[in-house]
Symmetry: D3
Subunit: 139 residues, 6 copies
């Protein structure tokens, strides 16, 4: 059977800051610029989850997209949307909330559950603004 | 001379929450839903400023767009971008940070300065997510 | 209190054709071009509902956007999404399914219910493709 | 019959510069900034033509969109697309090629022909970049 | 000579449903959800065709984009735009019209003809809604 | 440390034409179509620069995005924005200004400087219109 890649977009809006607790405010501003604002800032994130697999002959699907959407909502969106990623999100605890680290953490949240849908997680793409995005392939 | 409307888009990313200090957390969640998250959330806002005026015969401009952009950056973006709108922004002090109230407050910040450019502020459009935006005409 | 206009976008995907029962296929193709295809075609429609009202001092809202979204979903999206607009949709019965007529029919579906939210319906904008959209103000 | 506004988008890519022949290069750079580059620059323009009219009961149309598209292509796009607006376009001769002036000139090109389609030209919106656009209502 | 990938977007609007003739309506709804609506629904599809090749020194082109556009229009768009993909499209006969299967069928339609342009088909990307797309590499 | 790909978008507006000096106008129109217009035309280009690297544990960054943005602005945007690519841009001298050739020349401009940021240039994507883009991986 042919192999396809299918991508589901989900969105979330969250607050964060980039700052190290062991550095003072001046040092944090020096390294992280305006992203170090002590009282936080936030973004509308666009999350693109790409899975890979053979198309199932009976349905023509790699995976049922509403199952994939539900999985992403349960494992990621419900925990991160309208939250503070530094304070409220279990899977970001103790991590810098760079776009890179959020993408990697989302991979870890959904990589195994996607196998249960009969497909393989291929890529996490996380867009922070219209000018910036990160892609992670689990490497 | 003919009258044109010219619009400049600027963008900012900010944190906020919708919650009244005199209400408890339960009441705030009841009224404001997930927007009441105590530790904040945030958005990428798109701000569209529309000004109206006659085109100046020598340049063909209603207003110099780089002057308009500079004005918006000075009066609005520099104060609100990568900030917490409830805590850090002087012109939002003591106000609910609904999209409506932010749009109205931005109007008040730039209405008079735009007159000095020789044009008239016509509309503030503020887009909070791809599904929601507010328009305000100073009425 | 200041008056704001707030817009909620919802989306639906539907099939339709443009053809008059009393005309033969040749005549329908002549008038409606490829939109007359007897076996239907379809679109992803983007629906923008704009309501107008004073901002409520306690919340800073013209209207609660999740209430507005629920109303649109109940009165419009649940009846039209993944349907055939010529055959399946009660409020399009007996009408040509031009973008104009769909926009007018959606206005009639939600104009009164929106009053119950304490606001006034101002505009229906319905986008059929990236190159075409219709606006209706109830006139 | 109800009144609707229907909008057709067309696109063109063109070169131009903003500079007055009677000024030297230094003066032109002072007034027009980088838009004064002597060897030209260019843009992808998005043109939105909005017409207004009653919906025709038989078709449900204000105007046939393919007729409207053909009219815009004949009167505007064929003359301006992949051209130099300062040098090649008859309806821009002797005018500063500001976005305002291009929008006004396009209005003049199509206002009367649109009447022949049984509708009324309502607005020209011309988008020069994702951050800038002009609207003209014939006033 | 360096190797580039060049992508051409084309668009089409079509009706379809996801349902197996040998299943009853209840079973089809159970498996395919609202996509099983017996009277069809439809989408605006965006098709991105990516070809790969060396740049030709004389022109700087991998392939002439207007030739590539013409080929896609002839082999795909003219057969599928404003059609019912289950009923009207020869290359979808007897197949489930999942986005995966449409993408694979489009690959088969244009893979060989693209060789005649001196390039190699690299990827078909087919976007069904703003939240869903499929990529196929001929594997 | 995990490997991420991070992409920065920058934009520029420039004039160009596709024409060979040794061919006459008729021959140039035959090969390059409307892109051969002697008086130039122009586009808004979107440039996506993707770099690859390990995330730095202290910051969670592959590379500091504002450093990457500054580098692209210095090496590319400042030289090409609001310019004529055939006449004004040193790194395009003597080359056909096809999208392919511009992408390749941009790669050469920034490949080595990006190493100094501690990352590796992975891809240049250059979008000329909403329907056309080129990708180059340095091969």
């Amino acid at each position: 059977m042919p192999i396809c890649y299918i991508t589901r977009r989900e969105r979330f809006s969250a607050a964060h800051k980039l700052a190290k607790a062991e550095w003072d405010e001046e040092k944090n501003y020096e390294v992280f610029g305006k992203c170090a604002n002590p009282n936080w800032h936030g973004h509308n994130y666009e999350l693109y989850v790409t899975v890979k697999g053979q198309t199932e002959p009976s349905t023509g699907f790699v995976v049922d997209l509403s199952d994939l959407g539900d999985l992403i909502k349960e494992k990621v969106i419900s925990k991160i949307d309208h939250k503070n990623m530094n304070l409220d999100v279990d899977f970001m605890k103790g991590k810098m909330t760079s776009t890179e680290n959020i993408a990697i953490a989302i991979w870890e949240q959904i990589c195994d559950p996607i196998k249960a849908l009969g497909a393989e997680l291929h890529k996490i793409k996380l867009q922070e603004t219209e000018n910036n995005y990160v892609e992670y392939y689990g490497e």
